[in-house]
Symmetry: C2
């Protein structure tokens, strides 16, 4: 009923104990090919008694194909990427794949190093965040022959399959929404956009659409570093220090926006009358602030799930835009009185 040796158990030991050939054991254990009920029982019994644990390393070598899926995220301090991992993990788990993860820290070279390491394990697929990767990364990935899925954005010249939404359009939607609420003197608080390309694309869309509406960005504060509640809070303080006349602020994401929200609370700035606040991501916490945060809901878990799904199943490479949704909270005015 228990294992005899500490992991020295092999398929041939099971075969011997069951009185069948190795390949029969292999077939039974993988439930593939054909075998009699009798063999099946004998093998299963022997395997259980011996505490046999199949060696997938050997299996992968022999069948030249692992069930590992590599996932690279830029950060784990933002719950957004944990959501991505969670979604992907669910699907991989159900399909008996293993997720291997790495954190690139928003650094293309670090990402490249991670990819290089992952490829040595001959993963079934590689999931990446965003569409921006070093040339070397693209080259390695392409010649590796394994499936590649880029997540969280959509755009041109992808490596393989893409699952996400348009960050640029999200920025456009944010601008459209704010101007529709009647805001006219709008500022922006963001973090390090050189590293976070997707936040940069949102700002770009935001900026462009403001102009298209005959408005322009009144001022902006870039805090540098990564997005955080702290940076959002300090960023808004700095921005309002220069421009107390702003009537709304767009933040690079919800973490930043929530920081701004807290700044207003502590300074007695009335939201949304005195200042409108708009974020991006639709984090749970934003829905449970004293007043609900206006933001854009992104389908992160869905993206993770679908990315994993497309990564492990056969099929054409494609670009899937899962879209996003405006969340009308209480941190922006309702009426668009002209």
């Amino acid at each position: 009923m228990t294992n005899e040796k500490i992991s020295g158990m092999t398929i041939s030991a099971v075969a011997a104990a069951a009185g069948v050939g190795e390949s029969t054991v292999s077939r039974v254990l993988r439930n593939e090919g054909s075998f009699s009920h009798r063999s099946r029982d004998k093998v299963l019994k022997a395997a259980a008694e011996l505490g046999y644990v199949p060696n997938r390393i050997a299996g992968s070598l022999a069948s030249s194909g692992s069930r590992l899926v590599a996932i690279v995220v830029p950060s784990l301090t933002n719950i957004v990427f944990a959501d991505l991992l969670r979604g992907a993990g669910e699907v991989l788990d159900a399909a008996k794949y293993q997720g291997v993860f790495g954190v690139s820290d928003y650094d293309p070279l670090k990402e490249q190093a991670l990819i290089a390491s992952f490829l040595e394990y001959r993963p079934a697929a590689v999931l990446l965040s965003g569409l921006e990767h070093s040339d070397e990364s693209r080259k390695m990935l392409k010649s590796s022959g394994c499936r590649v899925v880029e997540m969280l954005d959509v755009g041109s010249d992808p490596i393989g399959t893409v699952v996400g939404f348009s960050n640029r359009e999200a920025g456009v939607a944010a601008a459209d929404y704010l101007q529709g609420c009647g805001y006219r003197t709008i500022g922006y608080v963001g973090h390090d956009l050189a590293a976070d390309k997707r936040a940069g694309k949102r700002l770009e869309g935001f900026y462009a659409h403001l102009q298209a509406c005959g408005l322009q960005l009144a001022d902006r504060e870039m805090t540098g570093g990564r997005s955080s509640v702290e940076n959002g809070r300090n960023g808004l303080a700095a921005l309002l220090g220069r421009r107390p006349d702003l009537d709304a602020v767009y933040f690079s994401n919800d973490d930043m926006a929530i920081g701004g929200y807290f700044h207003c609370l502590s300074q007695g700035i009335r939201i949304p009358e005195q200042l409108g606040i708009f974020g991006h991501n639709g984090l749970d916490i934003g829905a449970h602030l004293p007043t609900r945060l206006s933001t854009i809901q992104t389908p992160r878990v869905e993206i993770g799930r679908l990315a994993a799904q497309l990564a492990i199943e056969a099929g054409e490479e494609k670009i899937v835009d899962l879209g996003f949704q405006i969340v009308t909270g209480q941190t922006t005015k309702r009426s668009s009185s002209p």
Copy 2:
């Protein structure tokens, strides 16, 4: 300068191109054993020209030892576990190991299934969260012979090495702190403690110490489900509905406490005079609320780092208590006027 075949490149191809034997290539590439400068150059040049990517699956089989480290976390919706992954990832990455993750959803049987899958990859080590695991999990792990590190708690009868802090003592410290602040009518708001054993241990310590101080828990509200800002907010509302006389509330963790904090803000309940709020974890966001959250800071990233470190280096199994720290915020009174 580029690869010829899509991943069909093997060590023998490199050997042939470099005009040396396979074992020399192997030695050079792993920088182990001895070889001449000349061989080194030839091998490196050939490998680069052919775009050779070593196959670690084969390598692991041959050397019977993978560089995979399995990590099981109960959840990814709480940033706490992302911190753990981040800390572990940093160390594994630097040491050229790969982290393989799985989410158990606070379910011992799901954890068991994950462990079983992981073991098939013959990981160098397995990192688990908490000390509570199914008997079958313990058995598999023990007979696997691979290193096991349990994180986030300390206690008796571990499987292998332990890196964490005492959750029970954290509960005691919370009780001690609150009574020291002068609070006397104390309530508790928690989530599903049957699943989250560590939160249960904290409550146990909290409860015991209150009694030791001649106090007792005035009332408690268990929201069920997982911890979240939403549950914390609703939980506190329910609790205060029954017991408006409470002067302080201990929450199962910071997510819950922040929910409670928001409830107070929206209801105009003055913190900390009218109601004291105390959490657990020391999340970043708690430090940047309009007023700083009083809580207990836990060294999560450190735990992840050290756990990974101990997992991959040789050495005795041990129990490391990294402790925790009371964070005196503004959501609890300062004076302990009797």
